[in-house]
């Protein structure tokens, strides 16, 4: 490729900058959309269930049962609804208004006193929401065990459970799900911006006929590509800063890593995203096709396969391998670490390498496909 002429490059970048600033849809996609998405994903996706609606059916009204009822209500995990007949409780669960029903059976007090292992409580959970169902199950179980233990200690009896399990979280001590979801959301949002914005850019020049005029001047392929990448890279970094500010200052997600590392990793990630977007834009000379391809190829994988919400290790082998091809996977992991851990260099270096390889791939492909004439390559 011929050398890059600085004057021409500057002129092209300047032109691109004017177009960005004066086109409302760029501003919308680069700034408004990410903030909105961040808020929605940060505040709406909350996996910490603390207000699970629970139904309670008391068939025994003895002192032990009443104590247990208090324990349930005081646990802070449930919103308990009592005093409602069984059929209605079940109906509410069917209709999705209750996540579970706890039945304190009529022989509750007796079973407890005799201690022969009989069933004292029945817990029904709404299995159609498996995640919440498992939380309901495990929370009730924990409350049940703890309550029994406390009773045992109060009454100095020996039917205490011998094993005392003490959980502690390594990183994210508050274990707020938001702290682990927001970094992933940022990665998804940045994918959308990076791929969507650039996909529109080149396609727009083709549709409006200005690409033809440009190609008739002495510009080189390198200048054309660089002039598309540089301004959008800057825009991407700005959007990243905006996301960081929103996450740390407004959503109060702690950030423990180094800003320098964040900058390097964001740049690498933007390289992949922009590369992919430019490739789509170059190959599809039509804004609509470019945008839809960008969303299908960029956004969907980022949502599903980056580790943002759905754990990668749980996926079958084929999908796990597939995630290695998705830039958002590396970026999500890096962001989760930078926010909640700090800056473990070797770990981050692995992610950086992945993104570097992908950047090279996409940028290389785009360069091959960029044509110096009107012919499609």
């Amino acid at each position: 490729m011929r050398a890059v002429n600085l004057r021409r490059l500057k002129a092209l970048c300047r032109k691109e900058a004017y177009q960005i600033v004066r086109d409302p849809s760029s501003i919308l996609v680069a700034f408004v959309l990410p903030v909105v998405l961040l808020f929605v994903m940060g505040y709406a996706i909350n996996l910490d269930s603390s207000h699970l609606p629970l139904g309670l059916l008391m068939e025994d009204h003895g002192p032990a049962a009443v104590q247990f009822e208090q324990a349930l209500k005081a646990s802070g995990s449930f919103t308990v609804e009592t005093g409602v007949p069984r059929e209605q409780l079940i109906q509410q669960m069917t209709r999705g208004n209750l996540r579970g029903v706890v039945v304190v059976r009529s022989d509750f007090g007796a079973a407890l006193a005799e201690g022969h292992g009989g069933a004292a409580i029945q817990v029904l959970t709404d299995g159609s929401e498996p995640n919440t169902a498992s939380f309901v199950g495990s929370y009730v179980e924990t409350i049940w065990e703890t309550w029994q233990q406390q009773r045992g200690q109060n009454q100095a009896r020996m039917d205490t459970l011998p094993i005392d399990l003490r959980p502690r979280a390594w990183f994210n001590p508050s274990t707020l799900s938001r702290n682990f979801l927001v970094p992933g959301s940022i990665a998804v949002v940045m994918t959308v911006i990076g791929v969507l914005l650039t996909s529109l850019v080149v396609a727009r020049e083709w549709e409006r006929g200005t690409m033809e005029a440009l190609l008739a001047t002495p510009v080189t392929k390198a200048e054309l590509l660089l002039s598309k990448v540089l301004p959008y890279y800057l825009l991407g970094i700005l959007a990243m800063v905006l996301c960081l500010v929103v996450a740390v200052l407004i959503m109060q997600v702690p950030f423990r890593g180094s800003l320098g590392a964040l900058f390097v990793l964001s740049s690498l990630f933007l390289g992949c995203a922009l590369g992919m977007g430019l490739f789509l834009s170059t190959v599809m000379r039509n804004q609509f096709n470019a945008a839809s391809a960008a969303l299908v190829a960029g956004f969907l994988p980022a949502m599903m396969l980056s580790g943002f919400v759905f754990e990668i290790t749980t996926m079958p082998l084929a999908l796990r391998l597939l995630t290695r091809l998705i830039p958002a996977r590396y970026f999500t992991s890096s962001l989760q670490t930078l926010f909640q851990v700090g800056t473990p260099v070797s770990f981050l270096a692995g992610n950086a390498l992945g993104m570097l390889l992908l950047t090279t791939f996409w940028m290389g492909l785009t360069t091959l496909k960029t044509s110096r004439t009107l012919e499609a390559k």
Binding site: G209, T210, A213, A216
Partner: protein
């Protein structure tokens, strides 16, 4: 289609290819360009040359290959085979030649979000024009194009004419030796087009080689040299004078007509000596096959005073002659169309009427108190520069826009009050023949007849009639996207008249088509008008304006002239211009109006 039309046999171009001079700026040998291996060739063996200095016109309808040729000359496309040399070099690879060629593509190549000055700066930087030379160039360009007052305005907000001038200015930066202009005058009003010509003439005089491609044959007459193209080949090359010279003695006017022009034209086209004919103002213009062999006046029934007079040939006559002659005057539509009977109470003189029609968009008055009436069976043309209020007026008359004040009436029915009553009787053909591109011709016909209420046997018969009349049989299961332009136009017309409308609205119905297809179209329109269909047309083609019975000229929202084409021409006679063409009349009337306004203001 059963019109009288011999198979198009382009005459051998050897008869019209003068000898190659010593010095040429551009040389093309056996150029072939195919975009896909199985598809047809966009350029089918072009061999020609262009002298340095002067304006060469590349003339031909859409699809002739003009843009493909221009792009190949600019180095934007690689030939499939053959050679191209500009100033002795191959334009394709990156090289110093790029700085010597200026190129203005069809959409002007301007960045709409950048201001005039910013666009100029960009191209100056890209072409390496810096320092003192840059300052000088800018001064000169801005003066030349009269855009000095608008340097800060966004290019997207400029009028069509101004965009054209800016596009030209940008392509001139760097002082190229060869300038390629791809249809610079398309969709721009005649005044702006004339300005552009003046500018380009000046450039040619200073030694620049200029290639100007166009579909307007009257524009081509002003070039120094002309290359007539059709379907990827060059039909003829030479100076306009040479080409028209071959037509000497073959162009005639039938004047002093006492009978309706359309009827006379139809009869004249049946005569075996006549190769082509159109309406020109009050007269009928004919082209005969052989000089000296004129048709008999008897069967034409043109009236006692009617006479055949020889007139100067036009380039269009030469073009039609090369293509083998125009279509006949008998349209199959005449057979399938029933005579129009307007409802009893309707005023026969006001099938379409505008009463003080006004439309405001915020502060901007698009149409200002426009009033006119169109009689039954009349063909009425609405003319005017882009943005003058012509399309707004047209849309209000169709019912697509609601007037701010005043009334738009169709057969006495106010479109604002009761639109649905009127709509069943209206036919509409949108710009660029709006058909559903992904549907086949058959599906389009079914749909349009269906939404106008045709069903069952009646629908089937009507569709059959249209398919026969327009010869659409072989194209029925093709997607309209793939149809050639001429058939698209026919299909669009068919779709708009299946429900037998009494009023027909046509929005720039023949933009981009070749002269023969245009004549065919007008043959159909004439047949409909003869049956009593009232027709309103908008157009940019001055020739087409002549086919209308009366014309309304809209400028800055006002109707500044109303009358027959010849009346308007007579109103525009000045000592400098004793025989104005339609275009001259257009420009004169607008300039007169503007002068009047400044007088009143001062």
């Amino acid at each position: 289609m059963n019109v009288h039309r011999p198979a198009p046999q382009p005459e051998a171009d050897s008869a019209f290819q003068p000898a190659r001079p010593e010095a040429v700026a551009i040389e093309v040998k056996d150029l072939v360009k195919r975009f896909s291996p199985e598809g047809s060739a966009a350029l089918n063996g072009i061999s020609t040359w262009m002298k340095p200095g002067g304006i060469t016109g590349l003339v031909g309808p859409d699809g002739a290959g003009k843009t493909t040729l221009m792009r190949t000359l600019a180095g934007l496309l690689a030939p499939t085979s053959g050679t191209v040399r500009i100033l002795g070099q191959d334009p394709l690879p990156d090289g110093p030649l790029r700085e010597q060629i200026g190129y203005m593509p069809q959409k002007f190549g301007l960045y709409e979000d950048l201001s005039v000055q910013e666009n100029l700066d960009l191209y100056a930087d890209l072409r390496g024009v810096v320092g003192e030379a840059r300052r000088e160039s800018f001064e000169r360009m801005l003066a030349f194009t009269d855009l000095a007052r608008f340097t800060d305005r966004m290019a997207g907000k400029l009028s069509g004419g101004m965009k054209q001038k800016l596009g030209l200015a940008c392509s001139l930066l760097g002082a190229p030796k060869v300038l390629l202009l791809d249809e610079p005058g398309v969709g721009v009003d005649p005044i702006s087009r004339r300005d552009l010509w003046r500018m380009v003439r000046d450039l040619a005089r200073s030694g620049m080689t200029i290639i100007w491609s166009t579909a307007y044959l009257d524009e081509a007459e002003l070039c120094d040299e002309v290359r007539l193209m059709n379907e990827g080949r060059i039909l003829a090359a030479g100076t306009p004078a040479e080409l028209m010279g071959a037509m000497l003695g073959r162009s005639l006017h039938l004047t002093n007509l006492a009978a309706p022009r359309r009827d006379v034209l139809q009869r004249a086209l049946r005569a075996p000596e006549v190769m082509d004919g159109v309406i020109q103002g009050d007269n009928v213009r004919l082209v005969v096959r052989t000089a000296g062999q004129w048709p008999d006046l008897e069967p034409l029934q043109a009236g006692p005073e009617a006479a055949l007079v020889e007139v100067a040939p036009r380039l269009e006559d030469a073009f039609i002659s090369l293509l083998g002659g125009g279509p006949g005057g008998d349209s199959p539509l005449a057979v399938v169309t029933h005579a129009v009977i307007l409802p009893g109470h309707t005023n026969q003189d006001a099938a379409i009427e505008a009463r003080n029609l006004t439309k405001r968009f915020g502060d901007f008055i698009a149409t200002d108190a426009v009033s006119f009436r169109v009689a039954k069976g009349e063909v009425f043309g609405l003319l005017g520069p882009n943005g003058a209020g012509k399309s707004t007026t047209f849309k209000m008359e169709c019912g697509l826009l609601k007037p701010t004040s005043g009334q738009a009436l169709v057969m006495g029915i106010d479109l604002k009050q009761s639109p649905s009553e009127a709509r069943q009787r209206l036919g509409y053909m949108a710009q660029k023949f709006s058909l559903y591109t992904q549907l086949t011709a058959q599906q389009n016909l079914e749909f349009f007849s269906g939404i106008y209420g045709l069903q069952g046997e009646a629908q089937r018969l009507k569709m059959e009639g249209m398919i026969q009349a327009f010869d659409l049989g072989p194209w029925l299961s093709q997607r309209t996207l793939d149809l050639p332009l001429g058939f698209k136009q026919r299909l669009a017309l068919a779709c708009s008249i299946m429900h037998e409308p009494q009023i027909l609205f046509l929005d720039e119905p023949t933009s981009g088509v070749d002269p023969i297809t245009r004549r065919e179209f007008w043959t159909h329109i004439n047949a409909l008008a003869q049956k009593g269909v009232t027709i309103m047309v908008t157009t940019h083609f001055m020739d087409e304006a002549e086919y209308c019975d009366r014309i309304g000229l809209v400028f800055r929202g006002k109707l500044i002239a109303l009358g027959t084409p010849d009346q308007l021409k007579r109103d525009s006679i000045t000592p400098d211009c004793p025989h104005p063409t339609m275009e001259d009349a257009f420009i004169h009337l607008i300039q007169a109006y503007q002068a009047e306004r400044t007088e009143v203001a001062s």
